[in-house]
Subunit: 368 residues, 2 copies
Amino acid sequence: MRFICHQKQLIQSISIVQKAVSSKTTLPILKGIYIEAINNTIKLIATDLEIGIEHITEANTYTEGSVVVDARLFSEIIKKLPSSEVEISLQDSNQLCIKCENSEFNILSYNPQDFPELPVVEENYSCEISQDLFKNMIRQTVFATSQDESRPVLTGALLEIEDGTLNMVALDGYRLALRRGKIQSHLDNKVIIPAKTLNEINRIANNEEEENINITLTKNHGLFIIGNTKLISRLLEGEFINYKQILPGEYRSKVKANTRDLLSSIERASLLAKEGKNNLVKFIVQDHSMIITSNSELGKVHEEIHVELEGEDIEIAFNSKYFIEALKIVEDDEIYLEFTTNLSPGILKPATSQNYTYLVLPVRLSAD
Amino acid sequence: MRFICHQKQLIQSISIVQKAVSSKTTLPILKGIYIEAINNTIKLIATDLEIGIEHITEANTYTEGSVVVDARLFSEIIKKLPSSEVEISLQDSNQLCIKCENSEFNILSYNPQDFPELPVVEENYSCEISQDLFKNMIRQTVFATSQDESRPVLTGALLEIEDGTLNMVALDGYRLALRRGKIQSHLDNKVIIPAKTLNEINRIANNEEEENINITLTKNHGLFIIGNTKLISRLLEGEFINYKQILPGEYRSKVKANTRDLLSSIERASLLAKEGKNNLVKFIVQDHSMIITSNSELGKVHEEIHVELEGEDIEIAFNSKYFIEALKIVEDDEIYLEFTTNLSPGILKPATSQNYTYLVLPVRLSAD
């Protein structure tokens, strides 16, 4: 195997696949990147057996062939090379030779035969969605997935395709995030994608790229094609919670607030809310004002913002963390909060769009 | 106590003194910042009993007085407030009230009587040096101080004032950095300043500020006045090593190299040099070339750069870390390396200036 490729291009390829490299593994070859030179392209693959990422880029290939090389070492070397053409060739005794200007590295390589093949996903029924929209959907839901491995389905997000609409849903038992978006699809489907996979797609996809993401979902795998990159992920097995049942259909109080003002006030209030006490902040809404308070042994805080209230006054408490995370990803300048009682979930929605719904369970207020 | 000060100004003051706050301490009050309002200024002080930092800024003071408040909480609160006027007042029962626009915090405060006073340093014999130069001297030496607490004097840098010249010297048993600079002083002096103090001065001093740093050195303390900031530090006790004895007076090989090329090549070579083997890289200088090699079980690397050699060929090995750190802080485009034998120290100097000398001990090459 021998090819020449520019250092900048190699770095880009490596950075795309590298996140799929196993950090902890008993199989040393999974710490490697598979590189194949064929027909004036090179293909880089990395996998941790859960996610596999494959990236193709142009190169001048002189001898076709493949090799596996330690991902961390290879990436460190390429990064430190000058911005110039890099010649990579496989020598006798499995030494990989990397030459660039006045530098020459010879490093150990693994046998490419030992590298696991990525699962084959038939691209028969695939659908398409804009990169920008899909990134947004991920960003607005994935933070609400559960970190708790004891309920595996909640560590991923539901992708539900119904009549050309994609619903992405994540929930962790305390809050739920639902984002809707248009998708080009002729088939309805319902799968659970691991949060890690969605984060990787978000990293690889490009806001400015006009090309769509091509998605193929089979029983066990999801295939995401983003330009020259393929990402193949296992799906999570199990039944997702019937989230539609959880969303309340009505409310008694509807509050319109400025997103930034509300976020800043809750962030400040949370400085005195302590982890041990569920980061408790209290909302008191009456007339045109929303008062946000919190207190702990460190002291107390009192915040007031102007709001528009429709319906009944309300006094309700939440874990500030759940509100802060959601307010940070809402793009609208104004939001609606909907409440029924101080024991039932609160709903947050952007003021000008129907495509996002965020639900948070309240914290019961002790009589103080 | 009651005063009004702009949020931006408060943040700046807090950030200047905050680094002196004890992170680990059995005395809770040392986790605090002392604030004194007097005569339309506020003074903030923090100390860990090794270093004390005092900063004065303007404010509208309505009631004079002082308070001590938890540094971390106070800083978090002020940072999160809007960019606006902040009113701070001490209430009954030691509550500190912080008001800004629609926010009101009431937090616990400590008794200012319990806050330790900073040592009094008589400013009789002080000297002056430009902020820019002093920062440079610190940056070019302090990285060579020892991390090893078992030899306390080496955890600081020597400041030696002789005939209007300041020598700043740091060494750790493997390398030595010496920076010379002009200072306005009528007295000769010799003290050892803790590395932490020098790092704080480097942080506080400003490259663009024309005002000099005013330095007063007593037997046990150093006082550094930088604009509205005073930094008082304990000095390290003990005798500094007679560093002049260590610097070789002659050489057999003198090599002129491009600073960036040499740094890049050593950085690449060090990717294959392993910690366990002293990060060993080998230099082979002959004719107009310097070859830099390194190898480990991961592979081997061969780098070559163009140099000008005056004197004998040489083959010598070093811990790459010591060269990388020094080459990063040299400002000249070209440097000289001076060698005598491969068992005696190597010297690095900027090509166009006599004000910096860096010495590194070689690593003995095993017969391989």
